[in-house]
Each structure stands twice: as C-alpha cells, then as structure tokens.
C-alpha cells in the first residue's frame, strides 16, 4: 500500500451523509432495520452509481467504437473515460493496460487461458497461497493438469499470516507464476504482496494479485507493489455486477494471445485470417458492458471523493471495535489474525454450539445480513477444522451501532437456542 495524493479525498468522511446515499439502507427486513454486513460478497450501491446507469440509458446509449453519430461518440468517450478513472485509481502507468472483464473470476481465467497457456510448460510450477478463493485456485489447477505443471501452496500460520521462511523454498527456478490474494476474503489477512513480488521477480516469475478484496477497501498502487497483473470486481466496490477489471503490464499484455475472438478485437479481417487490434481492445471481443463501465467510473469517483486512506481508516477502526466486541463473547472463536491491525474488515467466526446456518437464519430474522458457509474457500475453511463459518464484513456505510446489533443478535440467538 502506498500513500498517493489521490487517496486523500475531497469529501468529509461523514457516516450519516454516506448512509443517506444508499437507498437500500432504508429497507426493513422482517420488520427490522437492515444491518448489511455481507460486503465481502458484494457491496450496496449509492444513488450516484444507480443514477449513472439510468443517465446512460436515458441520454447516451449507443454502441461504442463503431459510429460517427453523436451518441456513439459520447458512449465511446464515456467508456474510455471510465477506463482512465480506473487506471488512475490503481495508479496504472497507462489506461490501455486496463481491460474490462465480467469480474475477478474472468480476469483470472483470462490470464490462465492466454499468458499461462503460452508460458507454462511441463515441470514448471505455479505458486498460490493456502487461503485463496476458489477463483484463484481452480483455473490454475486445470491449467496444471493440462500442462503437467505443479501447483504449490504458500503456507500460513494459525493466525493466517504467510510463512516467509517457507516462501523462499516454495518459489524456485521452475516457478513461472505467483498468484496471491491481496486480502483474504475469509481470514481478513492482508498479504505482503510487494514482498512476494520481489521473491517472484528474483526467480523470473510473474506475479498476479487477486485484489477483489483490497482495491475496494484500501489505496492500491500497482507500481508500488510491483505487480504484473491485478484483478478485481466492480460489484465489491459500490459498482454494478457484471463488470470487472484485469490490469496487466503493457509488455506482457502485448505478447499475450487474445482471449476471445470476434468484433472489436480485430484490426483487419480477410477471408484468410485476421490481425489483432491494439490494447486493450485485443481482449474485449464483441459489444462490451458499456453501461456498467460508466457506472464503474461513478463508483470510482465516489470512492475517490471520500479518499481511499479515509475508507481504509474507517474500516480499520470499525474492525478493531468489532474484533474487541466479538472476542468478548464467550462461545465465539475468530479465524485468522487476532490482532486487528493485521487484517481488513472481514471477520469470520464460529460459535461453539450454534451452527453458522442456524446463526445466519436467526440474524436474518433480526435484519442482520451476514454470510455463512465455506465462503468459496473450502480447503481453507476445512484447514481450521470447521466445516463452515459465519462472516461479517464491513464497508464505508457500516457503523459501530451495527456492530453492536450483530453482537446483540448473536446473544439473542444463544438465548433462543438455549431456551
């Protein structure tokens, strides 16, 4: 993480004013006020983002890169302006390094199907951590099966912190790719990706950072962490579903074969063959998700106005408070770092006697939305010798009183099941 002038923010971080921007927070669930604590799954959308969608369809809608008429030019321009906003947000050197995808999963699959397909051979290895989301495990497993390559895991201690003594022996001269999550969606651990990038580069490997849980919550600077690829989803950062980002280093992207074939990704087609378009269009076959790109730009604007340093600080304070409150409950165990300064705003926990599903149903009755289950990280959850966990995760609109509601909700649930 680095300090950048962009992350300071121009708007005062006022939780009440922020909450007023989110229409869904007015909803009642089972007659109770909604307490939305499932932000690691997806975040809610402010009216500015929702309005950007209706504005687009009411004022601008047209296809991009194809027309000389006004609407098409405006749509093309807005689509590219949004790309530039994203590039600036992660401090990418050039906006053509930003490729629109559907989500983090597609961004990872794109790299697996193109760069990795071309660069990984039998006997090579791909290093990931033992705390990855399924999206950052399965594409590599499949590629490794196909190529006869090996998947290696970086281990972590019980506190969910990567074991570095181990790391330098796992990453070796046959390592071609290190693909790691910046922040665990289960443990909340923030991984030292800059340090891992150094280890990867030392052996000539490439590093991909799964930033699905970091870009929405903290300042992320692709140059400062020295990443080669970075993947994230708009829907986890106030934006719409159906659009995500792959950022990649220009020289790598230029060498890579296309991902999908069709319109927009070609420069010239003859009956005999085709010539690929320039970046980023080489990777954007067909009519793209124009409206959601506009809305992603609006989401980036919203976060930039608040300032990512302020977003991060708000979540750090809330997480510290929540850790203290949750750990004060007798029958609850928190997975991952016990020290809140080492984690982001994701807290997975298990109750000694109440199964996460029963807890999830009981909290829902009280208007509190949490996630329960394996959180798309089955091997990790199992490694803590539990089959499922409950997870509360925070964002800019969450407050201390919502943490109190959660803790009180857990106590009420205990009362209910012990009756």
């Amino acid at each position: 993480m680095s300090e950048s002038t962009l992350s300071a923010g121009t708007r005062v971080f006022d939780p009440d004013a922020i909450r007023a921007d989110f229409p869904i927070l007015q909803r009642k669930i089972h007659g109770q006020e909604l307490v939305y604590l499932d932000n690691a799954a997806t975040t809610q959308k402010p009216k500015q983002v929702i309005k950007s969608l209706t504005d687009y369809y009411e004022q601008t809608n047209a296809n991009v890169h194809r027309g000389v008429h006004t609407l098409s030019m405006e749509a093309t321009n807005g689509y590219e302006v949004a790309r530039t906003k994203v590039a600036k947000f992660i401090n990418a050197p050039r906006s053509e390094e930003v490729i629109w995808t559907r989500n983090t999963s597609e961004s990872l699959n794109l790299v697996a199907a193109t760069w990795a397909e071309a660069n990984i051979s039998e006997g090579d290895n791909i290093v990931i951590t033992a705390m990855e989301h399924h999206s950052n495990i399965v594409p590599w497993q499949q590629l490794a099966f196909k190529k006869g390559a090996e998947i290696r895991y970086l281990s972590h201690n019980d506190d969910g912190v990567i074991n570095f003594v181990d790391a330098s022996s796992v990453i070796d001269s046959r390592t071609k790719l290190v693909s790691v999550t910046h922040m665990s969606n289960v443990l909340g651990t923030i991984n030292p990706v800059a340090k891992l990038a150094e280890l990867a580069h030392d052996v000539g490997a490439v590093i991909l950072v799964d930033a699905a849980q970091s870009v929405p919550h903290m300042p992320v600077d692709v140059q400062a962490i020295d990443a080669d690829f970075l993947a994230f989803s708009a829907h986890k950062m106030l934006g719409p579903t159906g659009i995500g980002v792959l950022w990649g280093r220009l020289d790598l992207l230029e060498e890579m074969p296309p991902y999908m074939f069709g319109g927009d990704m070609i420069l010239e087609v003859t009956y005999e063959g085709a010539k690929w378009n320039d970046l980023p269009y080489k990777f954007e076959a067909g009519t793209p998700n124009i409206a959601d790109a506009f809305a992603t730009g609006a989401a980036v604007d919203y976060l930039s106005d608040l300032g990512m340093e302020n977003v991060w600080q708000h979540e750090q304070e809330l997480t510290a408070y929540a850790m203290e409150q949750i750990l004060s409950l007798d029958n609850v165990k928190v997975l991952g770092p016990q020290d809140s300064s080492q984690r982001g705003g994701v807290i997975s926990f298990v109750h000694d006697t109440i199964h996460p599903h029963d807890l999830g149903t009981a909290l829902d009755q009280q208007g509190i939305a949490i996630r329960t289950g394996h959180h798309c990280a089955m091997p990790l959850v199992r490694s803590y010798d539990v089959v499922a966990a409950a997870r509360a995760s925070f964002y800019i609109y969450n407050t201390r009183s919502e943490v109190d509601a959660l803790v009180n909700g857990i106590s009420e649930t205990e009362g209910y099941f012990n009756r």
Binding site: T361, Q365, G373, T413
Partner: protein, 152 residues
C-alpha cells in the same frame, strides 16, 4: 428479552420443540455391525455431513445408525429419519421419503400419511425458509439413494 423484540419468535415454526429435542439428543447413533448399506452424504455448500448405516433383512430395516455434523435442521431431520426407519419395511421407508419430499415442497399429504410421519411433520416448518429445505432433505435423499442401490 428472548424472541419478542428481536423477531426470533418468527423462527418457532422452523425450530419447533421437537426439532430442538432431536438436535440436542439425536436417536440411533450407535454404529451398526456389518451394515448392508454404509454411506456418507454431504452438502458441500454448508459443510454438513452424515454417515448412514443400515442393516437390511428380508426387505425390512433391522438396524440403523445416522451420525454426523450439521445445522440444527439437518441434524434433527437425520435423527427423525433414523427413528422412523427402524423396523420398517423398505417399501414403507421409500413411501415415507417420498412423502417428506412432498411435504417440504409444500404439497398436500393425506391424513394417513401424516399419521405415519408423526413428529416428522414438524420438518414442514422449513417451507417458509426455502434455503433450509436442502438441510432438511440431506439425510433423506442420501438414505433413499443408498436403499435404491442396495435393492437394485
């Protein structure tokens, strides 16, 4: 203040006393010797898993054991299932499984069927909580599959 203010009493239909009783003290958990059917079922989505053993003599169930871990609904349901099948003919068991499937789908069941199900009717409370229907059916579907395979 339990329930009341917080709206937890809305869950009473899901967590009837009989359900909580079976959850806390599951029936028929002692292992069966030389089982004819021995299988594991799990729901990877929530991590629930059960080990089902049956002894089948002349088309009737002479021994049953179901153990495992899961939420209150899946555990109570497994215990109610174990209690039901003990001593029943395989035909009766298959009819009961079909009946529970219909009950959880919200279809009508006859008075005679309700009599056979007895306490099991309490599982019908999950109908208002559709995401929990899978929890209630897990062991039933597993046992039914095991039985079909055994009889085939």
């Amino acid at each position: 203040m339990m329930g009341g203010m917080s709206g937890l009493n809305e869950m009473d239909e899901l967590y009837e006393a009989i359900i909580l009783d079976h959850y806390r003290s599951p029936r028929n958990t002692a292992a069966v010797e030389n089982p004819d059917i021995d299988l594991e079922v799990n729901n990877p989505f929530c991590g629930d898993e059960f080990h089902i053993q049956l002894k089948v003599d002349d088309c009737s169930i002479s021994g049953v054991s179901i153990t495992g871990r899961g939420c209150a609904i899946s555990q109570a349901s497994a215990s109610l299932l174990a209690e039901l099948v003990d001593g029943k003919s395989t035909e009766e068991v298959q009819a009961a499984v079909d009946c529970v499937r219909r009950l959880l789908k919200g279809e009508e069941i006859s008075n005679e069927e309700a009599d056979i199900l007895g306490d099991i009717e309490a599982l019908g409370g999950v109908r208002k909580f559709p995401v929990r229907i899978k929890c209630a059916l897990l062991s039933w579907v597993g046992l039914d599959d095991g039985l079909k395979e055994h009889l085939a």
